[in-house]
């Protein structure tokens, strides 16, 4: 019967499948192979040492593949860590910016309290634009006439006087800085008490010149300069008194004698303005 190759194949195939199913059924759920345990023991006894030997021999190959796998994993980790690092750096930058803003606002509040500026109805504003010249003579802020901002109102920051409002729209306003050529602020030097006017210094962007009324002044380098708050006369000012403007940075004796001019460095960092306050009510003019 088994001489027919087709029949033989079918019989052998059926036999093998049958044996497989019997084995499956007999050993399913049994961890020790049931009745075939002795067979398994023999196989393990014979093949166990071979398997151990082969495992030892192939260990370098496994290690090599493992090295490649570890390298690939490390590359993936490096990519992930770089992403995390960049994210943390962004957070640090954001945090530093928040700290700086907090510091500026604290200084603003501190100045406002120290000088009693609450009566001037201060309006906080953020600088949103800057004139594109190296002189930085004007800046744009995000508050305008809708917030009570009007032309000629004084503008300060946490360090001192910044400038005056020179133009307004309902939502924005332009601040002309004290370093602008059109600007002039009545001031006095604390100490000798000399009064004068602070204007933009010729040929030195960002610096101020104080034109003294008296040629025989006892003013010295380092003397603080504050707003005079003069209410009448030729030096009548828009600024409340005693707002810090700057300090005397250089005195040329010849120029002091001839022109009565000393160099003043502004107290406020006019090149890096972020938060400013507009004093929207001048109480002394009422």
């Amino acid at each position: 019967m088994l001489n027919d190759p087709f029949r033989r194949r079918r019989v052998v195939l059926a036999l093998l499948v049958g044996v497989s199913l019997v084995l499956l059924t007999a050993t399913f759920g049994s961890s020790d192979s049931g009745p075939l345990r002795p067979v398994r023991n023999v196989v393990m006894t014979v093949l166990g040492p071979i398997e151990e030997g082969a495992s030892a021999v192939l260990k370098p190959v496994r290690d090599l593949f493992g090295w490649f796998g570890s390298t690939l994993d490390a590359k993936g980790d490096a990519k992930r860590f770089k992403k995390e690092r960049d994210e943390l750096r962004r957070q640090i930058v954001d945090g530093k910016a928040a700290l700086a803003e907090n510091d500026r606002l604290r200084r603003l509040v501190g100045l406002s309290r120290r000088l009693g500026l609450s009566d001037y109805r201060p309006v906080s504003a953020t600088v949103i634009g800057r004139s594109p010249t190296v002189w930085f003579a004007t800046v744009q802020i995000d508050h305008g006439s809708d917030d009570g901002v009007r032309v000629n109102q004084p503008v300060i920051d946490g360090d001192g006087v910044v400038g005056i409002i020179s133009a307004v729209t309902p939502g924005t306003a332009v601040v002309t800085l004290i370093t602008d050529r059109e600007s002039g602020v009545s001031v006095r030097a604390i100490g000798p008490g000399d009064e004068g006017t602070v204007v933009a210094a010729d040929g030195t962007p960002g610096m101020l010149s104080m034109e003294l009324l008296s040629r025989h002044s006892g003013i010295r380098v380092g003397d603080p300069i504050v707003t005079a708050g003069t209410r009448s006369g030729p030096l009548a000012t828009l600024f409340p008194p005693n707002l810090p403007v700057g300090f005397v940075s250089r005195i040329d004796p010849d120029r002091l004698q001839t022109d009565g001019v000393v160099e003043v460095r502004p107290q406020a960092d006019l090149n890096h303005l972020d938060e400013v306050v507009v004093l929207t009510r001048s109480t002394w003019r009422q």
Binding site: P5, F6, R8, R9, V12, L13, L16, V17, V19, S20, L21, V22, L23, L24, A26, T27, F28, G29, S30, S31, S33, L36, V39, R40, V43, M44, L47, I50, E51, A54, S55, L58, V61, R62, F65, G66, F68, G69
Partner: protein, 200 residues
């Protein structure tokens, strides 16, 4: 195209087949299963069984697959008959393909290797369901199946070359039939070295 019908008597080098099966098992258990890129994915034994089926036909392929699978079941201390049944199917299927179609060209091993690996993975899943073990079709399973198919395709050619190196007996060329006896199987383009020149 040379075909070998199932009725042909094929000389099967049993000793060499045992050697090929042993090497495949050792490679699988001691190396491939323990290397992370292949772990749980590549099945060298299935590819060895496939190659044997392609070389010697359905019946030798089925018997070889059953035997190797049974030893693997015993080695892995698991329910006996699982690998035996699945590798039996792989060997038989590869052998029948050789008998009916005689696939030509080395590249055909790529889809065949993928099919063999896929058969093993899906066969195991089916057996798990039939045995009541449950087989959840989730993303992990699909990913493992795809990886198995991929590795099967990639490893099919080198494993087939290894099996041929071990099991194909190259006879010394006789002066009178050098051409017909030695090169016929490859001249046909078939994967099987068993051409008409070797029929008995």
């Amino acid at each position: 195209m040379a075909t070998v019908s199932s009725g042909d008597r094929i000389e099967v080098p049993r000793g060499r087949l045992v050697l090929a099966g042993s090497i495949g098992l050792i490679l699988q258990v001691s190396l491939v299963s323990q290397v992370s890129p292949f772990s749980g994915s590549a099945d060298v034994v299935a590819l060895v069984v496939m190659s044997v089926g392609l070389l010697f036909g359905s019946l030798p392929g089925a018997i070889f697959g059953f035997g190797v699978g049974l030893i693997l079941d015993l080695l892995l201390i698991q329910t006996l008959g699982q690998y035996a049944l699945i590798y039996l199917a792989v060997g038989y299927g590869a052998g029948r393909l050789m008998e009916l179609r005689t696939p030509s060209g080395r590249l055909v091993l790529l889809p065949l290797g993928a099919a063999a690996a896929g058969t093993v993975t899906l066969g195991f899943g089916l057996l798990q369901v039939l045995l009541g073990g449950g087989a959840n079709l989730n993303v992990v399973v699909l990913r493992q199946t795809a990886l198995a198919v991929l590795w099967g395709a990639l490893l099919a050619i080198p494993v087939d070359a290894m099996v041929r190196k071990i099991v194909v007996v190259r006879r010394k060329a006789r002066p009178d039939n050098t051409r017909s006896g030695r090169s016929h199987a490859y001249a046909t383009g078939g994967l099987s070295p068993l051409g008409p020149g070797r029929k008995r």
